[in-house]
């Protein structure tokens, strides 16, 4: 096995008497320079993990026609590879936002990601149309619409209607606001968007500045 050791000529005594200090300094210097070059070479390899220029360039704004969306219905469009929901809320749905207020973690959306022109509990430019990125702020699954309120939803008698994330059970109301003690820390993100006309919406671009 590894027990058979040999006597190596030199050993400890080799280092002191006959060492050539000039050569040693040269060796040390070249080793340092070589090491620095090695580290420098690693930079492009690490950088290649970053999103490519093409990936960064992708993500143009998306135009949506919302004329066919009926009250109480929802549509999904793709923006920057993510689902964006447009929900046309009816009266009862807008009423439910008041009901859920006390059950929410951040009802005023003070620490949530939304453009400056989005305010209040409706979190929308026009109260009727709610636009948000349909990605849970916990770990990025897309929540499922659970619009039916009450016990019928299977979530609970006091369910006001909203969204349920299938991955870790986070719940959001119809303004994408997260309920208390849920895995998700924040309300759903509202993308910059603006109305081109009454029935045409552009997502990813706004005139008022985000």
């Amino acid at each position: 096995m590894s027990n058979d050791k040999q006597d190596v000529p030199g050993g400890a005594s080799f280092s002191c008497s006959c060492a050539d200090t000039n050569r040693r300094q040269l060796l040390a210097a070249t080793a340092v320079v070589g090491g620095a070059v090695g580290v420098g070479t690693a930079v492009p390899f690490v950088a290649s993990f970053l999103p490519s220029e093409r990936a960064k360039a992708a993500g143009a704004p998306v135009e949506v026609d919302i004329s066919r969306l009926q009250p109480g219905e929802m549509m999904t469009v793709e923006w920057r590879g993510k689902p964006v929901w447009i929900v046309r809320r009816n009266k009862e749905m807008l009423e439910s936002l008041k009901k859920s207020e006390t059950m929410l973690a951040d009802p005023g959306s003070s620490r949530s990601d939304q453009p400056s022109y989005i305010k209040g509990m409706a979190r929308a430019i026009k109260d009727e149309y709610f636009v948000c990125v349909g990605i849970c702020t916990h770990l990025g699954c897309s929540p499922t619409a659970k619009f039916v309120p009450g016990a019928e939803s299977g979530i609970g008698d006091d369910w006001p209607g909203g969204f349920l994330c299938p991955c870790h059970g986070s719940r959001f109301d119809l303004s994408g606001r997260v309920f208390k003690s849920m895995p998700a820390p924040d309300n759903l993100v509202i993308p910059p968007h603006t109305y081109l006309s009454d029935t045409r919406l552009i997502i990813g671009e706004d005139t008022k500045g985000a």
């Binding site: 990936a55 993510k82 689902p83 770990l139 299938p166 895995p183």
Partner: protein
């Protein structure tokens, strides 16, 4: 007869020629013919060689799969992602393709079954104890590589579970304070799970991690053969040697254990082949049904769960909510307090106090157990000093930490004996609780949130209790392993 002798001589000559240039005979002796293993190995000692067999299966089937698979997330003419379509092509059109793919996918689950049993053997017989700490640590490295392989490989079929599973796991990294969001973009190579992600995961799965894995497997075996195998009695056979320096209770690995392992391999292959031929999907546990649907980044399937071998750790992630943090902090305080009392070193004592205070801030910030508003708050690089760190971050830390805890076992276990055979009732009880908790966590991890056992016992408190038991098994081991009433170890291995 003379012809045969001439042939034998010729063979020896060739071997001599090789041995002068490469240590073939001495390697053979060192690792097989003259590697002396304890003579009392039992059933549990099959799983090491079986793990090696499954590793070979994964590599060979993997090479053949790569010949037909395409890591490409773009859409083909029919509007199906190329990667997904190439897997279906392997399943339907490549001769023998479905067999090779099922060998690979079933092999992944078999790998984890075998490795979990192999690790449990280590727990039973104290195989991680001195002088086998490095054998155990190399083994931990192998376990981590396996988890990486499983995770990266699961993205490749580009099904719904592939895409959304990767989305969730990569987003875990975004919970790391300060650098998190950039880190998750760095891992994906894009702002969403995309073609860039698929290509790099492919590179990791087929070349980077397998290379590291092979290196670690070699190191695991070299370290094992240096110190010698443990055995079900946990006594060192090297303490008693005969006149030739060979352990009295040792027998050569070849032919004794090669033959025994071939028997084990036969039984394993019967079961493995039965699964491959008759239940390759493993009831939705080996290949999840949602993964037969192409990845749709617009829609998460109604129920997503990781593959079964990740679920115990995933359950612990889910259990770590803000409601769980007070219990977790209580555990930290008790362990820090015990360490404080039992260790006289002033620096260790300071560290214990620091850990108790530091985790309090991390969990609750400047609030009373997260129940009151913060005293004051200021925000530096996205970290709120008044509120502590998100429960989301602690969930991620819990998932990673619960895997890494195994690495500390060699130093946590202070029992005077190694093997379960000579340990007392206390250790046996705690180990049983640990195993039951691990299995319950595994079951819960496959279920949707809100699941109740038999429809009546809610899963969430069960997961919280099991997580605490899991942590206590490690955290209190230095104390209960000393308190445990052990039996005296025998001088030599017991053997019928």
């Amino acid at each position: 007869m003379s012809q045969i002798n001439a042939l034998v001589d010729k063979g020896k000559e060739v071997l001599g020629w090789v041995d002068e240039r490469f240590p073939l005979s001495s390697l053979y002796k060192e690792h097989l013919a003259e590697y002396y293993a304890p003579k009392n190995f039992n059933f549990w000692y099959f799983f090491g060689s079986l793990a090696l067999l499954v590793l070979v299966n994964q590599i060979v089937t993997g090479i053949f799969l790569v010949m037909h698979y395409k890591p490409d997330a773009s859409m083909n003419g029919a509007g199906i992602p190329v990667a997904f379509a190439s897997v279906e092509y392997i399943m339907r059109d490549v001769p023998g393709g479905s067999f090779i793919r099922y060998l690979h996918s079933t092999g992944a689950s078999a790998f984890f079954i075998v490795v979990y049993l192999h690790m449990f053997r280590g727990l039973l017989y104290g195989s991680y104890r001195k002088p086998r700490e490095l054998v155990w640590l190399f083994g931990m490295g192998i376990f981590l590589c396996l988890m990486g392989e499983a995770f990266f490989g699961y993205l490749l079929p580009w099904g719904q579970m592939s895409g959304w599973g990767a989305q969730v796991i990569v987003n875990l990294f975004s919970a790391v304070p300060v650098i998190g969001p950039d880190l998750s973009v760095f891992i994906r190579g894009d702002f969403v799970v995309s073609d860039a992600t698929l290509n790099r995961f492919f590179a990791f799965h087929v070349i980077a991690i397998p290379l590291v894995l092979l290196g670690l497997v070699s190191a695991h075996l070299i370290a094992l053969h240096e110190v010698g195998s443990n055995n079900p009695d946990g006594v060192e056979i090297k303490k008693k040697k005969d006149a030739r320096g060979i352990p009295i209770d040792g027998i050569p690995f070849h032919p004794y254990y090669t033959v025994k392992d071939i028997f084990g391999v036969s039984i394993f292959l019967i079961i493995f082949a039965a699964v491959v031929f008759f239940a390759p999907e493993g009831g939705g546990y080996f290949l999840e049904f949602n993964n037969f649907v192409p990845y749709d980044p617009m829609k998460t399937p109604p129920h997503i769960a990781p593959v079964w071998y990740f679920t115990p750790f995933y359950s612990m992630l889910r259990a770590t909510t803000s409601d769980f943090l007070p219990a977790l902090w209580a555990l930290v305080v008790v362990v820090a307090g015990l360490s404080f009392v039992s260790c006289k070193n002033v620096w260790v004592r300071r560290l214990c106090a620091l850990v108790a205070v530091g985790t309090y801030w991390g969990f609750f910030g400047l609030t009373v157990f997260g129940k009151t508003p913060a005293l004051f708050d200021f925000d530096l690089l996205g970290v709120h000093f008044g509120k502590g760190l998100d429960a989301k971050f602690w969930g991620v830390a819990m998932m990673g930490g619960s895997v890494l805890l195994f690495a500390f076992l060699p130093w946590l276990d202070q029992s005077p004996v190694k093997s379960i055979r000579y340990k007392g009732g206390l250790y046996k009880t705690i180990l049983s609780l640990f195993v039951v908790s691990f299995i319950l966590l595994g079951i819960l991890g496959t279920k949707a949130p809100g699941y109740a056992f038999f429809g009546v016992i809610p899963g969430e408190p069960v997961a919280a209790v099991c997580t605490l038991i899991y942590l206590c098994f490690f955290a209190f081991m230095p104390w209960y392993s000393r308190l445990d009433k052990t039996k005296p170890e025998p001088e030599r291995v017991t053997w019928k």
